[in-house]
Amino acid sequence: MYKKIGVAVAFSPNCEAILSEAARLQCQFDAELVLIHVGNDEEEEKKFLDELVMKSAINTARLKIVLKKGGPAKKILSVCEKEKVDLLVAGALQRENIVKFYFGSIARKLIRKAKCSVMILINPTVPPQPFKRIVIDGTEGGDYTDTIRNGIRFAKLEKAHFVHIFKCIKLFGLSMAIAGEEENEKEQEETRRKILADETREIRSLLKDIDTKGLRVVIKVASGKPGFELRRYTEKVKADLLIVRSPAHKFNILDRIFPHDLELIIGDLPSNILIDKA
């Protein structure tokens, strides 16, 4: 799936754990690793980084370390593009306060601007743990079928216990409101039931073409605001990884002033998250 994995390392309390997770992913995907650190004093930092790598289980034969000076998010992204990284891994604090929400923390900047897939880990551990309960965003739009396909593939690699595919019905309220003006009580119940059944069937037929052997797949259909409901569901099933598709366009300040889907999730991450650039 991922041939080259970039890892953003800051010297934070959890940097050791991030590296241990990175080592696990490297092994999982049999991938090359690029460690990216943005700081000031190159010599001392390189030494510290080397020590960290030594302590971790990273395969150093397939490792490259890049040190940069400047604005962290911008530098990390430019390295990713130059090295043709297809998955970027970084750590993040779980919750953003309101000031940070508008100015943006580094991890969230990476999500908003990256051209590759991004995985944000909110509680990496030593030793690393594979993901056991995975929620995949199955709401229609963009390349959502690819997201489901990639998500299932990833879940199989991880040997996950549960995979939930969560789908939000678009414009459910408007559909029911209009049904309310045309139909009597019984017909409306029928319409409501039919909408739910149709959405579930769509996902089922999609899954037919995907190999899900050995996975327990749960399909959940709901109404409401997609991003918000997805986050709530992820919390409810205590998932440890949420897989969503990456937005069609790069996010700008407008998307934050009028937050929607992805912004609603990354403002308050419910779990680790993988934004898949299908």
Partner: protein, 420 residues
């Protein structure tokens, strides 16, 4: 304190009962013929108003709907509340998420589908006011802007219903149409509230620039700060108050406050309820079920009261001017199609999809009637033009489904051609 007399109380309750029941009966009759309830409701007003009842039995008409006295003032107040609440529901139907998702396509489609009819309507009615039998005392600029705005609005509920009936509601084309209609709703009401202010007495009214500034500022603040405050408030209400009682009373109260506030700063009250409707509807804590309750309550009690009132004060037969009606209908259809088609093409849609979008955006609905009622009450338009607008709306609602079906057929053929 002034009190209603015994007879006035009887009249008022009779009015309300008759109006709601008549609207329901004719509405259901129309439903049997697969037509929207709202057309039946408007027609019920025509039956109860001067057009039919007033002509057949003038005494009974005057006894039921007296033109002066306390009851008429109270009824007008109730109808005013109904309009404001209808706008609240219209606002709640807007889904900003969807608008962002559709992005460029929806933006181009809506801008062109809004401004081309607006310009066409404006230019024609400004330079050829004779077409509308405009009398010399009317403010030509405001009138032309009004006609332009009337043509520019697309009715979201009408188009949603058509798309659903044709089973293309959730296709990409359907989503572009819905998102564009939502953008037009917001922009159309911003423009309209500015025009309303220009209609008002100039000495009292604010300057145009100031009104535009206030309208935009109010919209922006409500959709950012206002929305996030609502987002904080609603979960608290859901936790601490009974459900759905708590959320219903609080949202109603908020919408009345917004109406009072916009009226106070000099924009029309209904703009306040519309924008707060958008803000509340967009909150993730306003559950679909709560929305449904508000929707049912307003659309089945207050909606009919307003739609029936349309026919109560105007004689549709004596004010029937075929020329104006035909001009309006032609202008509405051609300019809307041209605008939406061009916009969809520029937004990156294929020709066959753009065609479907062009026809799809071609629906007018209740908002135009609300606009017309306010313009009629403020003396901007004649009863003839008002009647023409109502008929244009009814015609557009009736033809929208067949027209869309036809356009899908052409679109399918075009798609084949594009392939081969």
């Amino acid at each position: 304190m002034q009190l209603l007399s015994h007879n006035e109380i009887i009249t008022l309750f009779m009015q309300l009962g008759v109006m709601i029941l008549a609207a329901r009966l004719t509405g259901e009759l129309f439903r049997k013929f697969q037509l929207p309830l709202v057309i039946g409701e408007i027609l019920a007003g025509v039956l109860l108003g001067p057009t039919v009842l007033g002509t057949i039995d003038p005494d009974m008409f005057r006894a039921l709907f007296p033109h002066d006295g306390h009851t008429s003032v109270i009824l007008e107040g109730i109808i005013g509340i109904s309009v404001a609440l209808l706008l609240f529901v219209a606002g709640m139907e807007v889904e900003l998420d969807l608008v962002w998702q559709q992005g460029r396509k929806a933006l181009y489609t809506s801008l062109f589908a809004l401004f081309i009819p607006l310009l066409t309507g404006f230019i024609i009615s400004y330079f050829a006011p004779g077409l509308f039998d405009l009398d010399a005392s009317t403010d030509r600029l405001v009138f032309a802007l009004f006609i332009g705005t009337t043509l520019s609005i697309t009715a979201l509920p009408v188009i949603a219903r058509v798309l659903m009936d044709l089973n293309i509601f959730k296709t990409d084309t359907g989503m572009v149409i819905i998102a564009s209609a939502m953008i037009i709703d917001i922009l159309g009401w911003i423009i309209f509230s500015v025009i309303l202010n220009m209609m008002g007495e100039r000495s009292e009214g604010l300057s145009i620039g100031y009104t535009i500034f206030l309208t935009l500022l109010f919209t922006f603040i409500m959709l950012t700060i206002g929305k996030s405050l609502i987002n904080k408030l609603l979960p608290w209400i859901n936790r601490n108050f009974t459900w759905p009682g708590g959320v219903l009373s609080v949202t109603m109260a908020l919408s009345f406050f917004a109406a009072a506030f916009t009226e106070y700063i000099g924009i029309h009250a209904i703009f306040g309820t519309f924008i707060i409707g958008v803000a509340i509807g967009d909150s993730e804590h306003m559950s679909e079920r709560a929305k449904e309750i508000v929707h049912q309550f307003i659309n089945n009690i207050f909606g009919p009261l307003f739609f029936i009132s349309i026919g109560l004060y105007v004689n549709f037969l004596t004010n029937f001017n075929l020329t104006i009606i035909i001009i309006l209908i032609l202008l509405a259809i051609t300019s809307k199609f041209a605008g939406a088609f061009t916009g969809a093409r520029l937004g990156g849609l294929k020709k066959h999809d753009a065609l479907a979008v062009g026809f799809g955006m071609n629906t007018h609905g209740t908002l135009e009637v609300i606009l017309g009622t306010i313009a009629l009450n403020s003396g901007l338009i004649t009863e003839e033009i008002f009647v023409a607008i109502v008929i244009m709306v009814i015609v557009s609602i009736i033809i929208s489904a067949p027209l869309m079906k036809y356009s899908l057929k052409i679109a399918a053929r075009l798609k084949e051609d594009e392939k081969s």
